[in-house]
Point group: C2
Chain length 199, copies 2
DNA sequence: TAATTTTGTCTAACGGTGTTAAATTATTTA
DNA sequence: TAAATAATTTAACACCGTTAGACAAAATTA
């Protein structure tokens, strides 16, 4: 009497189908387009059926988050295991992380709360009132560069911005490290970058 | 016959009221709770009225984004103008940015697409399969530390993560710098942090 | 085999969303 | 006062997540 298991296998199968359908929809149309009814349509059921398999929409998102972490972990391990020295390993690990973020953009957005949705505001303020305009001036001074379009200035600006923004968003979406650690990172990173401007 | 202007002033006033109401709701209940009907209720009108002042909900978000950028710019300038040397100015500028992010969290989330909503997944994977577990091992090796709970390890991990995540999310939400510049930043930052592990 | 219980699935509905068209009320103009 | 214009609301549409109840199919029991 293996019918119990057959049925269980079938149920497990539609559970996976739901997740796959959701992932497909997101890849095709983005997170804001994901709805229970659309998932149902894709697996040729009606929406309430999904609640037999997942408590609610958040349950589906949680499952996808898990899958994302699993995948990211694999990629990072794979990259690490190609090298012997910790230096090379760190390089490879973070490059794998970087690649994952763009190859599996949808997963990344879900896992780390990156919204695409937010309004893009370009050329709306005079340059000297934008963060870019304000921060690049002292950068240029320190580097002895007068052309604000210089790639070296741009690179340094983005380096500052990335670390501060990264630290901020990690702290907004999940309570990251402690306050002291944050201050330490911020201070270390900024003085580090600033020092690098002068050499 | 200055009634035209009086009326214009009044209209301008409710336009501002709409924005203020929206901002209040978000501060009280978060972005996911912001709805046209709630804004309308707050300013004691009905929802369709808002469309006389803003094209749609996105129009309201855009206006709030503008206000956010303005405010951030002011704070950064204010901080900068307290110092003379570019080193001190850069310190002050990015500290002001950091403070803005938490003092005006709602603005920051809107401006830079930081979602709070995303599922928190903790203790779901064995530590050696998480990004933290994978990346801290070579960090510990390089630093000559065997305790994975050591704050110095944690700090360095967050430094790596912040810069990579920051660069990633900047590139996901708005097309940031060019690919070459991104690679440059990534490489510079990672080798920089790695070098700092050994001293 | 027939009756009964269980299971799977769907329909219909609730209260919410952004948005639009039409109706209504208030105000200004002639 | 009557007509025209502007301001505001009501009602509706199409969507959303979610739940309760109806229904049919399958499995179990008598």
């Amino acid at each position: 009497m293996g019918s119990k298991e057959r049925i269980h296998r079938l149920k497990e199968n539609t559970k996976v189908n739901i997740i796959n359908a959701a992932h497909e929809i997101v890849k095709e149309e983005g997170w804001q387009a994901l709805s229970m009814r659309k998932i149902a349509e894709k697996i040729e059921y009606t929406a309430p059926m999904i609640y037999e398999y997942y408590a609610n929409k958040e349950g589906i998102l949680l499952e996808l988050t898990k899958k994302g972490y699993l995948l990211l972990g694999e990629k990072m391990k794979e990259a690490r295991d190609k090298y012997e020295t910790p230096e090379e390993q760190l390089d490879a690990i973070w490059l794998a992380y970087w690649n994952f973020a763009f190859e599996e953009k949808e997963y990344y957005q879900l896992m780390f709360g990156v919204q695409v949705n937010c309004c893009v505001i370009e050329d709306l303020l005079p340059i000297e009132s934008t963060p870019y305009g304000i921060a690049t001036k002292p950068i240029m001074q320190l580097m002895g560069i007068s052309d604000p379009e210089d790639d070296r200035v741009c690179t340094k600006y983005y380096t500052y911005w990335s670390i501060v923004h990264g630290l901020v968003s990690i702290n907004i979406v999940r309570k990251g490290a402690s306050d002291e650690i944050n201050r330490q990172i911020l201070k270390d990173a900024i003085t580090g970058i600033t020092r690098s401007l002068k050499s």
